[in-house]
C-alpha cells in the first residue's frame, strides 16, 4: 500500500510539471467548452437542458487524448533507464503498475471534475429566472450523476489500456499510436451493427457491441441508469489490463 502511494504521488506530480499534461487539459477543456456552448445555443428556449453533452464529449475526446498522457508511463522509464532502478527497488511489480495507473487516473479525474463547472452553469440557468437565457424545465440530475460515475469508470478503462501499450514498447509514439487505434476501434465497435449484414454479420456486430467501450455508458450511465454489468465491465477491463501490464513488466526480467 505504502509503495503504491509513493509511486502514485510521484506520478501525479509528474503530470503537473509536464507541459503535455497542461496542453491536453487545455485542449480537452476548450473543446468541451465549445461543444457545450453550441449545444446550449441550439437548445435555448427550445429543448430541456442536457448535462450529459459535456460527458459524451469528454468520453469521445478521451479516445484521442488518453493515449497522449498514458504513453509515457512506462515507455519513458524504459528509455531513460529508470525502470531498471525501479525494478531493483524493494517494491513489487504490481505496486509500481497500480501506483502509476492511479496517478494517471487521478489526473483524469481532476480534468473530469473541472467539467462540473458546466453543470453548475446549467443549474444556474435552469433555476434562476433572472438568468439571461432561461432554459425550459428543470435540469435532470439523474443522467448527470450516473454519467459522471460512468465516464469516470470509462476513463479508468482507457487509461489501463493506454498503460498496457506503454509497457509494451520503449517508443512513446508507438505506444500512443497503438493505444489510440485500439481505443478507437473499441469505442466505435458499438456502431458495427449499423453496417449492412453482408459486411459485418449480426453476430460479429453484437460481439463488437458487447466489448465496445461506448456501449457500456451511452445507453446506461448517460441515461441515469447504473447497471452492475457495466460497472463490472469497466472494472474488468481495468483489472485485466493491470494484470497483463504487470506480467509484461515481469517479463522484462526474463529477457
Amino acid at each position: 500500500m505504502r509503495n503504491i502511494w509513493t509511486v502514485y504521488k510521484r506520478e501525479i506530480r509528474q503530470y503537473f510539471v509536464s507541459p503535455i499534461a497542461y496542453l491536453v487539459m487545455f485542449a480537452v477543456l476548450l473543446l468541451i467548452g465549445l461543444n457545450f456552448n453550441t449545444d446550449l445555443q441550439d437548445r435555448a428556449n427550445f429543448e430541456p437542458a442536457d448535462g450529459t453533452v459535456v460527458l459524451s464529449t469528454f468520453a469521445f475526446l478521451m479516445v484521442f487524448f488518453a493515449p497522449l498522457l498514458t504513453m509515457r508511463l512506462f515507455a519513458e522509464e524504459t528509455r531513460e533507464g529508470t525502470l531498471e532502478l525501479m525494478l531493483t527497488m524493494p517494491i513489487r511489480d504490481h505496486e509500481l503498475v497500480i501506483g502509476k495507473f492511479l496517478g494517471a487516473w487521478a489526473f483524469y479525474s481532476i480534468m473530469l471534475a473541472v467539467t462540473l463547472v458546466y453543470q453548475g452553469i446549467l443549474l444556474a440557468l435552469t433555476n434562476f429566472d433572472a438568468s439571461p437565457a432561461p432554459l425550459q424545465s428543470e435540469l435532470d440530475l439523474g443522467p448527470i450523476i450516473g454519467g459522471y460515475i460512468g465516464i469516470w469508470l470509462f476513463s479508468g478503462a482507457t487509461i489501463a489500456i493506454g498503460m498496457f501499450f506503454s509497457a509494451m514498447t520503449e517508443n512513446q509514439i508507438i505506444a500512443g499510436f497503438l493505444s489510440m487505434a485500439v481505443l478507437f476501434i473499441l469505442w466505435v465497435g458499438d456502431l458495427a451493427g449499423l453496417l449492412p449484414a453482408s459486411i459485418v454479420s449480426t453476430r460479429v456486430a453484437e460481439a463488437l457491441r458487447v466489448i465496445s467501450l461506448q456501449s457500456h455508458y451511452s445507453t446506461s450511465f448517460l441515461e441515469g441508469v447504473v447497471r452492475p454489468e457495466d460497472v463490472y465491465f469497466y472494472a474488468g477491463v481495468m483489472f485485466i489490463m493491470l494484470f497483463v501490464t504487470t506480467r509484461l513488466i515481469e517479463s522484462r526480467r526474463w529477457r
Binding site: E80, T82, M86
Partner: protein, 311 residues
C-alpha cells in the same frame, strides 16, 4: 556479503555467463574487471534482482536474491550504467522519492546528509535536466547511498567523467569501504588496481582470475621489472646486451632513454645490475622498480585463455 555460486545466464542461444563464482567480504571493495560485453552488467543485474539467473545461486547479505528478493534488494544500493534519473524532478525531490521507495525514516534529513556527502547541497533545488554529467553521476551515487545499504553495486561509475571527477569519485569509493561492501565494475584496469581490495577478472562470461591485485601479480608469476638508465660511451643496445647477461634476468628491452629489465622469480638483482653498469664504465643515472600493471596481467590472462580456446 556478496556470494555468487555457479551463476549461469543465457539469453536465448547466447550464454552471457558460464557459471561464475566469487565472494566479497564485508567492508571489501571488489573490482569487477573485464572488457565490454564480458558479462559485468549481466552479473550486476542478477545481483540487484533486476533479472533472475538461468541457474546458480546469488546471495546478498545472506538473502537469496531470487527467493527473498525484496529483503535482498533492501540491502543493496545500485547505480546502473546509465544513471537512472528523472529529468523533470529536482535533485532533492528525486532523492526524497528514492528515500520514500526505500522506506528511509526521516527522509528530509537523510536527503540532506547524502547531498552533503556527494557535495551537491548547492544544487539541491535544481532540475536534474539542468545539471552536468558529473553532477548527475553524483546524484546517482547519492541515490544508491540513501538508505545506507550494506552492499553497494556500481556499474561503471567513472565512465564519462573528466579526470578530476574520476579522481574524486575514486577516493570517494575508497572512503565508503569503512561502512559498505562495494562492488564496482570497470574496464579501466588501473582504476581497479588503485581502489580495490580484490579484483575479479571476467572475460566472455568466465572468471579468468581473481584475488588481491598484488596476489594476482605473483600468482601469474610475472616476476618484477626494473628500469635502468645509464650515461656513457655505450649506446642503448649495448646496455641491453650487458644487462641481459646479468644472472637472474629473464630479458632486457629498451624503454625510453634506458632499459627495462625483466627479472625471474622476484629475485633482487638490483646490486648485480648496478655493478654491471659500473663495470662497463658507465654512469648509473637511475635504477627503479617498475610496477606491473593490471593491464598487463589482464592481457596475459585473457590472451592465454583466448589461445586455449582457439587451440
Amino acid at each position: 556479503m556478496i556470494e555468487v555460486q555457479n551463476l549461469v545466464k543465457k539469453y536465448g542461444d547466447f550464454t552471457a555467463l558460464h557459471g561464475i563464482s566469487f565472494k566479497a567480504k564485508a567492508g571489501e571493495i571488489l573490482g569487477f574487471l573485464g572488457p565490454n560485453g564480458a558479462g559485468k552488467t549481466t552479473t550486476m543485474r542478477i545481483l540487484t534482482g533486476f533479472m533472475p539467473p538461468t541457474s546458480g545461486v546469488a546471495k546478498v547479505a545472506g538473502h537469496d536474491i531470487f527467493d527473498e528478493s525484496l529483503a535482498a534488494r533492501e540491502k543493496i544500493g545500485y547505480l546502473p550504467e546509465t544513471v537512472p534519473l528523472y529529468p523533470d524532478m529536482t535533485v532533492q525531490g528525486y532523492l526524497e522519492f528514492m528515500a520514500e521507495l526505500r522506506h528511509v525514516p526521516n527522509r528530509k534529513k537523510r536527503t540532506q546528509e547524502v547531498l552533503a556527502l556527494v557535495g551537491m547541497e548547492h544544487r539541491a533545488k535544481s532540475l536534474i535536466r539542468s545539471i552536468s554529467k558529473g553532477m548527475r553521476q553524483r546524484v546517482g551515487l547519492a541515490q544508491s547511498l540513501i538508505h545506507n545499504p550494506p552492499v553497494l553495486i556500481l556499474d561503471e561509475p567513472t565512465i564519462g567523467l573528466d579526470p578530476a571527477q574520476v579522481a574524486d569519485l575514486r577516493s570517494f569509493i575508497r572512503d565508503l569501504r569503512t561502512q559498505h561492501t562495494v562492488m564496482f565494475s570497470t574496464h579501466i584496469l588501473s582504476e581497479a588496481e588503485q581502489i580495490c581490495d580484490r579484483v575479479v577478472i571476467i572475460n566472455r562470461g568466465q572468471i579468468v582470475a581473481q584475488g588481491a591485485p598484488r596476489e594476482l601479480r605473483s600468482k601469474l608469476n610475472l616476476g618484477s621489472r626494473i628500469y635502468v638508465e645509464a650515461r656513457g660511451r655505450a649506446d642503448q643496445k649495448a646496455l641491453v646486451n650487458t644487462l641481459s647477461k646479468v644472472q637472474g634476468v629473464k630479458f632486457a628491452e629498451p624503454y625510453q632513454n634506458g632499459v627495462v629489465v625483466n627479472v625471474k622469480d622476484n629475485k633482487d638483482v638490483r646490486p648485480a645490475l648496478a655493478a654491471a653498469v659500473i663495470e662497463n664504465g658507465l654512469e648509473l643515472l637511475e635504477l627503479r622498480p617498475v610496477a606491473i600493471t593490471l593491464e598487463e596481467i589482464f592481457l596475459e590472462v585473457t590472451t592465454a585463455l583466448g589461445a586455449e580456446e582457439d587451440a
